[in-house]
C-alpha cells in the first residue's frame, strides 16, 4: 500500500505485542511466573489490579515490561464487563498494535510463543484463536470429558488493535468475554496452537473452594452451567498426559 501499510491499511511488520490482564489477590499463585513468561515474548504488559489486598500490585510493578498498572480502590468483581472495559481502555492508551488477553494462570506453549511474531506481522486477519487446555490436579495432565473440553474449540485471545473500530462488551456480571465481541465480525485465524491453563491444577481443596465460590455467586446457573459447576467435584475425571510440542517435531 502507498503508505507502507498492508491490506485495508493494516500494519504488517514491526508490530508491537501488548499483553493485558486484570488481577486480584494473585500473590503466591501463578502471577509472577506468568509475568516472567510473558516478559520473554511480548513487548509490553498492561495490568488492572482490581483492589487486591495482598502483594499483587508490587509483583506486577516489579516487571519492567509492565508499562501501565491501574489500581482500583474498590473491586469491580461483580461487574465483570466494567472490569473488562476498564482494562481495554487502559490498553488502548498505550497505542498497541496487537493485544493478547491473558489471565494470571495461563501459559502459552513454547511452540505457540515461537509462532507469535508470524501471527501478528501480517495483513490477512485481525484475530487469532488458540486451544486452551485445562490442567487438572497437576501441571502434567489436562482434563477432557463432557464438561471439560474447551481445547476442542478455538478461543480468541489475540487481536489486532484497529483504532476507531467499534468495540463493545456485553453487560455480563460474570463470565464476560475477555475481548470485545465486535471482533467476531473481523477476519480471524483459528489455530491449533496451545495455551496451558493452570487455574485447576492446584489441590482438591483449592478446587472445592472455587466450586463453592461459583455456587455462591451464581446459585441459579445464570452465568454458567450448574452441571459444569458440579463437575468440578468429580472424583475421577478423565485426565490426559500433556505432551509438549516442539518445532523440531514437524
Amino acid at each position: 500500500m502507498a503508505n507502507g501499510l498492508g491490506k485495508g491499511g493494516r500494519k504488517k511488520e514491526s508490530n508491537k505485542l501488548t499483553a493485558m490482564m486484570h488481577v486480584r489477590n494473585e500473590a503466591g499463585r501463578y502471577l509472577e511466573a506468568v509475568l516472567a513468561d510473558l516478559s520473554g515474548f511480548v513487548d509490553e504488559i498492561v495490568i488492572v489490579d482490581d483492589a487486591s489486598t495482598d502483594q499483587t500490585p508490587d509483583i506486577a510493578a516489579s516487571f519492567p515490561k509492565v508499562v501501565k498498572l491501574v489500581r482500583n480502590k474498590e473491586s469491580l468483581f461483580h461487574k465483570e464487563w466494567l472490569l473488562r472495559e476498564q482494562l481495554w481502555r487502559a490498553a488502548e492508551e498505550t497505542n498497541p498494535d496487537w493485544l493478547l488477553a491473558v489471565d494470571a494462570d495461563e501459559f502459552y506453549e513454547d511452540y505457540t510463543k515461537d509462532a507469535m511474531r508470524e501471527l501478528i506481522d501480517q495483513d490477512e486477519y485481525d484475530t487469532v484463536s488458540f486451544r486452551m487446555y485445562d490442567f487438572w490436579d497437576s501441571v502434567t495432565h489436562y482434563r477432557e470429558d463432557e464438561w471439560w473440553n474447551l481445547h476442542q474449540r478455538p478461543i480468541m485471545t489475540l487481536v489486532r488493535y484497529l483504532p476507531g473500530y467499534h468495540y463493545a462488551f456485553p453487560k455480563r456480571a460474570h463470565h464476560a468475554p475477555r475481548l470485545p465481541f465486535t471482533y467476531s465480525a473481523l477476519p480471524g485465524l483459528d489455530t491449533d496452537l496451545r495455551i496451558k491453563h493452570f487455574g485447576w491444577a492446584g489441590s482438591a481443596e483449592e478446587r472445592r473452594a472455587k466450586h463453592d465460590r461459583y455456587i455462591k455467586l451464581d446459585p441459579e446457573g445464570q452465568w454458567g452451567s450448574l452441571g459444569h459447576y458440579a463437575s468440578i467435584l468429580e472424583p475421577n475425571p478423565r485426565l490426559i498426559r500433556w505432551q509438549e510440542r516442539n518445532r523440531d517435531d514437524e
Binding site: 500500500m1 491499511g9 465481541f181
Partner: protein, 401 residues
C-alpha cells in the same frame, strides 16, 4: 388544471393495479381526467390503445407508469410529468427488468416506491422519491399528496423530508415496541434490521450522529444474533456516516477495515493514495459510491468532470443511477480506447437512443455492436421482449409475467 390528463401505464390491465392504489386512482378519476392503456378501464377512466399514445398532447399530460417494461414507450413520449410507481424488485427477476427499472426511475420526474428497500435504493440515486408501501397510512398520504402536487406543477420536494422524518419516527416507534417485547433472542427477530433501516433514515434526514448510534446498535445486535457478513453489509455504512460527520480520514480507515478481497483492497489503497495527494473530493465521492450513495457522489463529481479520474467515476455513477444519457455524453471518443470500452459505449448509445425515441437508430446501434460479438445482439432480443411484454401489460385478463 383539470384539463391536464393523467395516463396510467398499468402492470396487467386495470385489474393488475394493487387494491390500495386502484381505489385511490378511482377516487382521483372523479376530479381529474384519467386515461389508462388498459383494455379493462372502469367507468370514469378512458381507455387508450397503445396505437393512440401518439395522439396525446404530452406537453400537457402526465404519465403514471407501473411496470419497468414501459420504459422504452413512456420515456420517449416526454410527458410533462413522468411518475414511476413501482413495487420494487421481485425475487429472482430477470436482469432485463432490473435494468429497465433503473432506467425508468432515472428518467422519471418522480419515483414512488412500493417497498422500503427499493425506496432507500432510489433515495441514494436521485431526488423526488417517495415511499408508498401500504404499511403506514400517514406515510402513504404524503406520497399521494406529492403525486398530486407534482402533477399540478407545485414543488413537492418539501414533502420528502416530512415523509422521511415521519418514517424515521414510525421506525423508532416500532423499535420501542419491539424492545418491550424482547424477552429472549428469538423475539428479537427483525429488531436489528429495524435499527439499520432507522439509521439509514436518520442519514437521509441529515442526523449523522443519530444515524451512527443506531448503526452501531444494529451491528452489535446482528453480531449477537450470529449473523454473517455484518462487516460489509452493515458496518461499512459507518464510513458514509463519517463522511457526513466531516471525518474523511476516519471514513477511509473504516472502509479499509471492511474491505475484503483483491478488488476492495485495491479500492482502499486507491482511497489512501488520493487522500495522501490531497484529492479529498475524489475520496469522498468514491466512498459515497462504495456505500451505494450515487446521488451524493455524482453531486460532488459533476463540477470535476474535466478531470479524467473524476470523469471515470462519474460515468460509473451515472450507469449505476440509470442515467444513460449522462454517461453516454461523458464517454467521448478519446475515452473509448479499449474494445470493451467501445462495446460499452455502443450499448449505452443504443439504449440512450431508444429512450430518446430514436428506435431505428437504436436498432442500428445494437446491430453494429453485435457485428463482432454475438452477445451484443442481446440488445435486440431484449427490445423484442420489452415490446411483447408491453402488450401483455395492457390486458386486464392476464397479468404480465
Amino acid at each position: 388544471m383539470q384539463a391536464q390528463p393523467i395516463v396510467i401505464f398499468p402492470n396487467g390491465g386495470w385489474r393488475g393495479i394493487p387494491p390500495g392504489l386502484k381505489s385511490w386512482l378511482e377516487e382521483l378519476s372523479r376530479k381529474r381526467k384519467l386515461l389508462a392503456v388498459a383494455d379493462d378501464a372502469p367507468n370514469g377512466v378512458e381507455t387508450l390503445a397503445l396505437e393512440q399514445l401518439g395522439s396525446v398532447n404530452w406537453s400537457n399530460a402526465s404519465a403514471i407508469v407501473m411496470h419497468a417494461a414501459w420504459v422504452h414507450i413512456a420515456v420517449p413520449l416526454k410527458p410533462r410529468c413522468l411518475i414511476a410507481v413501482l413495487p420494487g424488485p421481485e425475487p429472482e427477476e430477470a436482469e432485463l427488468w432490473s435494468k429497465c427499472r433503473l432506467w425508468l426511475c432515472a428518467y422519471a420526474t418522480m419515483v414512488v416506491a412500493g417497498s422500503e428497500a427499493f425506496y432507500l435504493e432510489q433515495s441514494f440515486r436521485r431526488g423526488s422519491v417517495f415511499l408508498m408501501d401500504g404499511l403506514d397510512e400517514t406515510s402513504d398520504l404524503f406520497a399521494k399528496q406529492a403525486i398530486e402536487w407534482h402533477i399540478d406543477g407545485f414543488e413537492s420536494d418539501t414533502l420528502i423530508r416530512l415523509q422521511q422524518r415521519h418514517r424515521a419516527s414510525w421506525r423508532n416507534g416500532l423499535l420501542e415496541q419491539q424492545q418491550q417485547e424482547i424477552t429472549d433472542q428469538a423475539s428479537a427477530q427483525g429488531y436489528a434490521d429495524g435499527l439499520f433501516f432507522h439509521s439509514v433514515y436518520r442519514y437521509l434526514t441529515g442526523e449523522a450522529d443519530y444515524a451512527r448510534k443506531l448503526l452501531l446498535a444494529s451491528f452489535e445486535q446482528m453480531l449477537a444474533e450470529g449473523r454473517n457478513h455484518t462487516l460489509q453489509d452493515v458496518y461499512r455504512f459507518l464510513s458514509a456516516i463519517e463522511l457526513e460527520q466531516g471525518h474523511l480520514q476516519d471514513a477511509v480507515r473504516t472502509y479499509g477495515y471492511t474491505a475484503q478481497g483483491e478488488k476492495e483492497w485495491q479500492e482502499a489503497e486507491q482511497l489512501t493514495i488520493w487522500l495522501a495527494s490531497g484529492k479529498r473530493l475524489l475520496v469522498q465521492a468514491r466512498l459515497y459510491m462504495l456505500n451505494d450513495d450515487y446521488r451524493k457522489a455524482s453531486a460532488l463529481l459533476e463540477p470535476l468532470s474535466g478531470d479524467p479520474e473524476a470523469r471515470t467515476l462519474l460515468v460509473s455513477a451515472y450507469i449505476q443511477m440509470g442515467r444513460l444519457d449522462g454517461a453516454y455524453s461523458l464517454m467521448s471518443a478519446r475515452h473509448r480506447q479499449s474494445a470493451s470500452d467501445r462495446r460499452q459505449w455502443q450499448h449505452l448509445q443504443g439504449t440512450a437512443l431508444l429512450l430518446a425515441g430514436k428506435r431505428h437508430e437504436a436498432i442500428h446501434c445494437f446491430l453494429q455492436a453485435g457485428e463482432n460479438i454475438q452477445e451484443e445482439l442481446h440488445g435486440m432480443v431484449e427490445l423484442a421482449v420489452m415490446d411483447s411484454t408491453v402488450r401483455e401489460l395492457t390486458r386486464g385478463n392476464k397479468e404480465a409475467n
